[in-house]
């Protein structure tokens, strides 16, 4: 079609990435000002401004792309034109993902103002959060594997330090070291798979990889490459045999960081995996392997979550289960399934982000994370508990919340591609997951023990969770805009690959 292949070229960083990187660097200076001249709330205000600016610049990019849905912006990085140098490629999918990322970062920035006020080293905290956001934005906009790897390591490094941020106690340190060791090993495997790709094709550009590797006959090297990719991306996105760092790292991090890690960082890993797998392989090649991993991931995570007494640990296992549901969409291999995957990423970032923020508020006030000691908190912190209930119902997939919509699409897509057993496993797992969500709710609204007293948290924290709860219900009752946006995003990935190749290679 005429008018579909309009491409904008440029040679600068994408705007949101520029904002976040500059914001991260200036945060150090601002923090110095804050400490020396004692201007209160300067760092916090700057963090909120940077997050707002990033959100706004994603919107500007969206306006640029909106007129022509399959338009791709190619930004050249290293001076050479795309097949040789590194580049950024921004399509509707990148906008969708970076929109989810910057929106969650914005909400978490607002929430951390009150949550973190008693901690020291806040300058480092906000700098690392900004760089983690920059890393994720870079990953979703990367146009070649090498750029992806650089931003992958930027995101990983920031998240290692943020997990171990509260270094005065042993838990975060132990979890952080475990996370670092597993994730660094995965990074080495990612580099190895990059070297295989380079050896096969002589390039790392996604478009050229797609042009030269799609549809080649299956050889042993291709299977080695596939397993190295699964190990490399699977550790970050917590697919089950490789998930063991997550239930330690996510609960031990400060709650705003848990919300970011569970809400969007592991999903960014899944995004990178989806992008790379769809670019390199035909869906029929990886369908069965991903379907088996999906069933394994959701079943094991749901069973393990039943055994937990720590509320944040329970939510961490629930994150692994949600990754299992998302893999169902990848296993279906159709545009519809991938649409479900990305819609679930958006919905999960709201639901799990909010579940971690509200349970963080509760743990912050009650000074414990043990569910058995939280009996009756719901009567004393009504609004926070209400928002937590909405998040948990959404995670369980109750109709009326956005979790229901995206899960319905995911399981529907599994049936559509002839894997009814996968959809049945998913529905059974959803039912099983309600068991532990309902247990949390039952404990929270029980009658409190004698002398147990907590207060509602600061108004801003409550306001952030209320906004997210509102969005969950609104997107559950009126999902049309989100679905149409996610459909466009997945079409560019699954059906628009030829446009993508032509846009870059000219």
């Amino acid at each position: 079609m005429v008018g579909q292949e309009i491409i904008a070229h440029g040679s600068h960083l994408p705007l949101p990435l520029m904002v976040l990187l500059l914001g991260g660097i200036t945060m150090l200076l601002i923090g110095l000002l804050n400490e020396r001249i004692k201007i209160p709330w300067l760092r916090e205000a700057w963090m909120v401004i940077v997050a707002t600016a990033a959100l706004g610049s994603v919107y500007l990019l969206h306006q640029q792309l909106k007129t022509v849905p399959s338009k791709i912006i190619v930004l050249v990085l290293w001076g050479q034109s795309p097949p040789l140098g590194g580049c950024f490629e921004i399509d509707t999918l990148s906008i969708f993902m970076s929109g989810s990322i910057t929106f969650l970062v914005f909400l978490v920035a607002l929430y951390s103002i009150n949550y973190m006020e008693k901690e020291s080293r806040l300058t480092e905290f906000y700098t690392l959060v900004t760089f983690m956001a920059a890393g994720m934005t870079g990953i979703v906009m990367a146009g070649d594997f090498f750029t992806l790897f650089i931003f992958w390591e930027l995101m990983s490094l920031s998240s290692y330090v943020l997990v171990a941020f509260l270094k005065e106690s042993w838990g975060p340190i132990e979890a952080g070291f475990k996370y670092l060791l597993m994730s660094a090993t995965a990074g080495a495997f990612l580099l190895l798979s990059m070297s295989f790709l380079y050896g096969m094709t002589g390039t790392l550009n996604f478009a050229q990889l797609a042009a030269s590797l799609r549809g080649v006959p299956i050889s042993p090297w291709l299977i080695v490459l596939f397993s190295a990719l699964i190990i490399g991306f699977g550790v970050k996105s917590a697919i089950v045999p490789l998930h063991t760092w997550l239930p330690d790292a996510h609960p031990e991090a400060p709650s705003p960081i848990s919300a970011l890690l569970s809400g969007i960082v592991i999903e960014t890993g899944l995004y990178a995996m989806t992008r790379v797998l769809f670019t390199i392989f035909e869906p029929s090649f990886f369908k069965l392997a991903i379907a088996l991993l999906a069933v394994l991931t959701m079943t094991l995570a749901n069973v393990m979550a039943l055994l937990q007494n720590d509320i944040k640990r329970l939510l961490a296992y629930s994150s692994i289960a949600q990754i299992g549901y998302m893999l169902v969409g990848l296993a279906a291999g159709t545009a519809y399934g991938v649409m479900g995957l990305f819609l679930h990423i958006l919905n999960h970032s709201l639901m799990k982000g909010m579940a971690f923020l509200s349970s963080g508020s509760i743990a912050h006030e009650a000074k414990t994370r043990d569910i058995r000691n939280l009996r009756g908190v719901g009567r004393m912190m009504p609004i926070t508990s209400l928002t937590l209930f909405i998040a948990l119902l959404g995670l369980g997939g109750v109709p009326g919340t956005n979790g229901f919509i995206s899960k319905f699409i995911l399981f529907n897509s599994a049936i559509g591609s002839g894997m009814t057993w996968l959809a049945v496993a998913g529905v059974l797992n959803s039912a099983l997951s309600m068991a532990y969500y309902l247990r949390v709710m039952k404990t929270l609204i029980g009658s409190p023990d004698e002398g147990f007293k907590v207060n509602e948290v600061a108004p801003l924290m409550v306001a952030v969770t209320l906004v997210m709860a509102g969005l969950i219900v609104v997107l559950g009752l009126w999902p049309a805009p989100a679905i149409s946006f996610a459909t466009k995003a997945s079409e560019t990935l699954v059906n628009g690959l030829n446009t993508y190749i032509r846009a870059v290679l000219g």
Partner: protein, 103 residues
């Protein structure tokens, strides 16, 4: 053009050494060395494959490897900082003593 097989065998051996180091060793610094060996296996694989275009050595792989060396250096630096903090809390470098987080 150099023969490829000896290099790929070396890469495979380094992978085996790195992974077995991660599985067997108790000392945390040695675990980080194991990660470093894995990274260097990947780097060696890149360099070996870059010599395979007839006539010239592809400089692209070299630029990738330079950046990868910087990146894995930073990862190891953060890891060593964490090892210091672990030592402050546990007074040992034995990874098997870090068993308080379970399930």
């Amino acid at each position: 053009m150099l023969p490829l097989t000896p290099f790929l065998v070396a890469v495979g051996l380094m992978l085996v050494i790195g992974l077995s180091c991660l599985m067997v060793k108790r000392d945390m610094v040695r675990l980080l060395i194991g990660v470093e060996i894995l990274f260097n296996a990947a780097n060696l694989c890149f360099i070996a494959l870059s010599t395979q275009t007839p006539g010239y050595v592809d400089p692209f792989a070299h630029s990738v490897v330079m950046m990868a060396i910087v990146l894995d250096g930073t990862v190891i630096a953060v890891g060593l900082a964490m090892v210091l903090n672990v030592y402050k809390h546990y007074k040992t470098l034995d990874i098997r003593k870090l068993r308080r987080l379970k399930w």
